[in-house]
Symmetry: C2
Subunit: 389 residues, 2 copies
């Protein structure tokens, strides 16, 4: 096990009707003028936005609204949000939505108190100062409700990049599984793929003797395998939604990933896909992750066999562990297919001829590599995209 730090100071409020406590929490964290940041009309139609507004009004906290966050949230709206916050003297950003809304809120929160261009953070500068952010989560997926990271897409050139910093970890996150019952099947499944990918980016490692985090990773994956089909079969199943929603947080606040080298190349490779085609991140991951697995599994057949046996319940083939490893990869493909996810370029709507562009945009030149399980160069990424065709 490697040395590590773990710090997850977000207040989580989980369960039915908890969004009504948003105002009380904003007040506790000293917010006096709030930006309520949200996505499309569903938050309005469902009455969620009204409930959140009411909870702020009850605490006599004023607010301004900024909607319109799209999946793969754009820099243009972030600039707009920063301008609005400065004009209005906003001191707290409340995200009401999924990972895209939260990531956009984090970018705004960091940008408001930064003299330069907020995009600097997405070019690698650490975020050390930001307005406090709170969240009312509506989609289990990104894990942004408990993480220090944010991913934004620069509209000019559709560059998708991540930023990181303890300053943007949510002060509080409200997770009410009821809010997920209206989620369409495709978004439910995309979110599930993202959650599973967050675990698998951590799971596949060469770090030895990490039984505790191995087992915790497997715990999240096993939960998803049980609960996602249940939520798809009956979207109103509160219990299935609840298990998925908490699994989404556990998958990404790093409790399952400490003390081990993590990979994250599938995320980087996928970002080019969702930026270029503006597809759901989770759907892109369902395409890329199995291709990455197929490309790298020979570097640690034991780990992939463990994945097959412990997560998918495959029988270990003691005479041929590689066969077991491959069975695990096959099983996750089948699972993604079973929940309605694409598992190749064709199903996703991506094009073979764009591969060279995506490989180039990743910027893996001059010896720069991506990932740690295998340090991938441009030619490796090219091959992984082609395995996903």
């Amino acid at each position: 096990m490697l040395n590590f730090n773990f710090y997850s100071p977000t207040h989580f409020l989980f369960g039915k009707e908890r969004e009504n406590e948003a105002g009380k929490l904003v007040k506790e964290f000293g917010g006096t003028k709030v930006l309520i940041h949200y996505g499309g009309k569903s938050a309005i139609k469902s009455g969620l936005l009204d409930r959140v507004k009411k909870s702020l009004e009850q605490e006599k906290i004023s607010y301004v609204l900024l909607g319109g966050v799209k999946p793969n949230p754009r820099d243009t709206l972030v600039y707009e949000g920063i301008k609005l916050c400065k004009q209005e003297g906003v001191d707290f950003v409340l995200a009401v939505g999924g990972g895209s809304v939260i990531d956009s809120a984090k970018a705004i929160a960091a940008g408001v108190v930064y003299e330069g261009d907020f995009w600097d953070f997405y070019e690698g500068k650490e975020i050390t100062k930001a307005l406090r952010v709170g969240t009312v989560l509506t989609i289990a997926a990104a894990g942004s409700e408990g993480s220090t990271s944010s991913v934004i897409t620069k509209e000019d050139g559709m560059l998708k990049r991540g930023a990181d910093g303890l300053a943007i970890i949510p002060a509080f996150s409200i997770l009410n599984p009821e809010l997920m019952t209206t989620l369409p099947a495709f978004q439910t499944a995309s979110g599930a793929s993202d959650i599973m990918a967050h675990v698998m980016e951590r799971y596949f490692t060469h770090t030895k003797d990490v039984e505790i985090t191995d087992r915790l990773c497997e715990a999240v994956l096993l939960t998803m395998i049980k609960e996602v089909p249940r939520a798809l079969k009956d979207p109103n199943n509160y219990e299935a939604r609840a298990n998925i929603m908490w699994a989404g947080m556990v998958a990404h606040n790093n409790i399952v990933g400490v003390g081990r080298q993590q990979d994250w190349s599938s995320h980087a490779i996928e970002h080019e896909l969702s930026a270029l085609y503006d597809v759901a991140h989770g759907a892109g991951l369902a395409v890329i992750f199995p291709a990455w697995m197929t490309y790298v599994y020979k570097n640690n057949i034991d780990k992939f066999a463990q994945f097959a046996v412990r997560v998918w319940g495959c029988e270990m083939n003691f005479e041929n562990p590689e066969a077991t490893a491959l069975e695990g990869i096959e099983r996750i493909k089948q699972f993604f297919t079973s929940i309605g996810m694409p598992i190749n370029f064709k199903e996703l709507g991506a094009k073979e001829e764009d591969i060279p562009y995506m490989v180039k945009t990743m910027g893996l030149d001059n010896g720069k590599t991506c990932g740690s399980f295998v340090e991938l160069k441009s030619e490796d990424v090219d091959k992984i995209y082609r395995l996903a065709l």
Copy 2:
């Protein structure tokens, strides 16, 4: 799943040599005059105390020392610590030791800023204010390094009672598995029993649809089953110690227990044992937990069968689930025996004739009960003690 809050704001620093960062952390949390609280001579002999002192000196932070914390830490030393802190103007309490030292440090930290008798907190008053506490953990067991609770024994009458409050959650906890390599086998195993008991107090519940926390509980137990025998076989095995040490935190900061009714009656029943005989808490739990299981399993055979199958790898007996449930109980007894733990009164050195006294001291009269899986009355506790004979 039940509604819940989760908040675990401790900074964890995990790994080799991390105790050298204690001074830097105390400074970050504003400590200027520290009480270093510790147990016996092992912290001195090992050089740990010197390293901690040096790290404070490097930050020009002054300190006073108070050693002598015993297992089942006493109120008498807490009073001494409170007096010393007031005299010396201490503003930060640094615990260097195991759960007993940390619990004693928490009691002192709460008592220093309280006008009344600190024991009020152990009679049920919530701790809402305390000096900040930091820890350098030397024994994986109590989970006090990441918890809001503290257990102290009142010497007059040997009453063992717990207190709770967010104010006493450690600001930081340093977990260096190297410090555990000198731990004798019995203490290693007692700590392991305590960790497993923390998980099982949460695991056995009637709350339905808690797959995520079920799986997380099982993850910790599976880790212990693998790693504890390894640590006992080779006390210097850093990796086994590391897995156990982090499992001990995960077992008790409540990440594996949120959203479900928890029981905690085995802990309460055990406290009478370790108070009366001054035995190791973990050893007492190894005696009490299987007896409690035997007494209550019929109230939820499915859950006990799940425990047997998922944690112990038993084959499910579909024609007779009760047989599987009983096999799980048998397996944990065997495990405790295999790591050198007592599993009955005789092995622990407890006496049948003291049962009425212990039952009485628990104070379950006038309709008061203990636990939630089954709400135990005095006569139930009596029977559980007798099942442990």
